[in-house]
């Protein structure tokens, strides 16, 4: 795959003036412009962003992430090195797009669209989609200076993604706005990825970077520390630079992979496969796995989730006091269920294997197996049945 963005030995310096007031008098007195120090915001940074991936830029405050993004967007010019981009690029920087405060939302949509290279007709076609996405129909004819920062970002985001960019740059903006809008944005970004567009995000929210991005670059004080698969780089950042346990942030540690969960087989009371059991059946869930090496006392776990996302139940071998040693090669582990007391419907099984302390994942699969529970004689409402029997005592 070819590169959507190539960053080649990029250096960017900012000038820090000793006296901010820029006056001709001062310049003449000194024979030149105000004296300044140079601040190296990006120091010889090189990396490539492949076409069609989601790429994250992470690093502490002031590490040069926004500077990098602005250089990509050509808003800033590099002092050395070059950045080549392929395809139409649209950027959404901190605090929203460049809107003119006195003009209405509508006029700004047209203006911004034109800046991003759309013709009037193209904007006409997209206008409804933009307003619809932003969710601020009632205010579209009010001057944007009366907008709240949330509305501002909504409209900015709606414009930036509806111009059909091949490359979308986003800087921290997703942190603004309510949850509903954030979800909408995340969905839209996901669908843009499916269409093969390239997305570059700068974000503080490491869990979302991890969920969204394929690859990540880590910057520190303007230097590129590391670039590569998202998991690697984020783990490196957390453990080596921030010295924190990823689990504390709700980010699962990276799976170590000695054992690989292959799938689940459902077996009926007669010992034969029963892929679609009926409520109340006695079944065995057989977890197939392959071990790369010998693992002492791994902790296997599983959970059931209904099709509407409700966690029905979960259990693991540790709480049941099972200790086992897994030898290299294929193997399986059975979970015997005397009566399958979940309501008829569709369920997903999550499978996990952890190390003996139950802290480091070995393998986790969110959707290891999906199956259907059929209706039977046992009637129930809700998601589970108690398996009880009514008795009318005379």
């Amino acid at each position: 795959m070819s590169a959507a963005i190539t960053v080649d030995h990029v250096t960017k310096r900012y000038r820090l003036y000793h006296e901010r007031n820029q006056s001709v008098k001062a310049a003449i007195m000194r024979g030149r412009r105000a004296r300044y120090d140079e601040f190296l915001a990006l120091d010889d940074v090189s990396f490539e962003i492949r076409e069609g991936i989601a790429f994250g830029l992470i690093g502490e405050n002031g590490s040069g992430k926004s500077t990098m993004l602005k250089c990509m967007a050509r808003i800033l010019r590099t002092d050395a090195g070059s950045i080549t981009t392929r395809g139409k690029l649209s950027a959404l920087l901190e605090l929203g797009a460049g809107f003119h405060p006195e003009l209405s939302g509508r006029e700004n949509v047209y203006l911004n669209g034109a800046i991003l290279g759309l013709s009037r007709r193209e904007i006409d076609q997209r206008f409804d989609a933009i307003v619809d996405f932003s969710g601020i129909e009632q205010f579209i004819d009010a001057p944007v200076k009366n907008y709240s920062s949330g509305m501002y970002v909504r409209l900015g985001f709606a414009v930036a993604i509806n111009v059909d960019p091949e490359i979308l740059l986003i800087d921290e903006v997703l942190a603004v706005g309510d949850q509903e809008f954030q979800n909408k944005c995340t969905d839209k970004i996901a669908s843009m990825r499916r269409e093969g567009r390239t997305i570059v995000v700068v974000s503080h929210a490491l869990p979302s970077v991890r969920a969204l991005c394929d690859e990540v670059a880590l910057l520190e004080h303007g230097h590129l520390i590391r670039t590569g698969p998202a998991e690697d780089v984020i783990d490196h950042y957390l453990t080596e630079i921030l010295s924190i346990d990823p689990a504390e942030l709700g980010i699962p540690r990276r799976a170590t992979g000695e054992i690989h969960l292959d799938g689940v087989e459902i077996i009926g009371a007669d010992g034969r496969p029963r892929p679609e059991p009926t409520i109340g059946d006695a079944v065995t869930l057989r977890f197939h796995f392959t071990a790369r090496e010998r693992v002492v006392e791994p902790v296997f776990g599983m959970s059931f989730t209904s099709s509407d996302g409700v966690l029905v139940t979960g259990c693991n071998t540790m709480t049941s006091g099972i200790r086992m040693v897994v030898e290299p090669g294929p193997g399986h582990l059975d979970l015997e269920i005397p009566r399958l007391l979940v309501a008829p419907g569709r369920y997903h099984i999550t499978g996990t294997v952890y190390d003996r302390e139950h802290t480091t994942p070995i393998h986790e699969v969110g959707d290891l197996h999906a199956f259907h529970v059929a209706e039977g004689t046992l009637r129930t409402s809700g998601i589970t049945s108690l398996g009880g029997t009514w008795r009318a005592d005379a």
Partner: protein
């Protein structure tokens, strides 16, 4: 050359920026566009009262038009002057005023200067239209001269854009540029024959025993040439001298090239400095 192509490629954006300029100019003012005619009207009244009535400045008789009216004489020069002065003053500010855009999105920033001038050009053309109607009412058959007037307008626009590019970029780095230009604008105004005919300027000026060819020195000022050319075409109804047109064109193109060159050099750090 690449600049020209960029202008052409982004003409849609230029149009949009000009429209934005026009829309936002009189936003939230009750009289709106009427202001753009009231402003020149008020200055015409003042200059007419002070120079035409109190000081009794005698306008030259138009040759061959035979026109002899101070207000018309004044209008033919004052309206172009206003375009020049507003164009320069507003384009100086055009980058600083649009800092929000410059810091957030990429586009050729020259367009901000061009669109500021473009917005004023629209006003200027409307004003010229009004002046032409007045001239026609006063019996000056100015219609055949419209092509010449448009050539002058084009040259003047190029000149103003050139100066605008030069000064707007400089103003981002040295904010005194605007104050300095505010200071010299009236000097330019009174050293250009707008409220008085050039014939009031003595051919030579004797000072400390030396004689200075004042009228010739005046002739170096492209604004003097420009105003003279407008008056030739509109007031006197005659073809401006070819060397005058050539002189204006050389200045206009020279200023545009210089302005673009300086702008390109200063554009590099614009988003950080603005």
């Amino acid at each position: 050359m690449s600049q020209v192509r960029e202008y052409v490629e982004r003409r849609e954006l230029l149009t949009n920026l000009v429209l934005r300029e026009l829309r936002s100019r009189y936003k939230r003012s009750t009289l709106g566009w009427t202001w753009s005619l009231l402003n020149p009207l008020s200055s015409v009244l003042i200059y007419w009262a002070v120079f035409g009535v109190f000081l009794e400045v005698d306008p030259p008789v138009g040759d061959p038009s035979g026109q002899d009216n101070f207000v018309l004489f004044l209008l033919c020069a004052l309206i172009p002057w206003n375009f020049f002065s507003n164009g320069v003053m507003q384009s100086i500010e055009s980058l600083v005023v649009n800092a929000g855009l410059i810091r957030k999105v990429y586009f050729p920033r020259e367009l901000l200067v061009a669109s500021t001038v473009g917005g004023l050009l629209v006003t200027f053309l409307i004003e010229l239209g009004v002046v032409i109607v007045i001239l026609l009412a006063a019996g000056n058959m100015v219609l055949p001269w419209i092509p010449v007037i448009l050539v002058l307008v084009a040259l003047q626009t190029v000149m103003v854009v050139g100066i605008g590019l030069l000064l707007s970029a400089a103003n981002v780095y040295f904010r005194d540029v605007r104050h300095f230009i505010t200071l010299i604008m009236p000097v330019l105004f009174y050293s250009t024959p707008i409220v008085y005919p050039i014939t009031t300027v003595p051919e030579t000026w004797r000072i400390a025993g030396r004689s200075i060819p004042l009228r010739d020195i005046y002739g170096f000022n492209p604004l003097v040439r420009l105003v003279t050319a407008y008056r030739d075409a509109m007031y006197s109804l005659r073809m401006p001298a070819w060397d005058t047109l050539a002189y204006i064109a050389v200045w206009a193109i020279g200023l545009l090239l210089l302005g673009q060159w300086v702008f390109n050099r200063l554009d590099r750090r614009l988003a950080e400095e603005v």
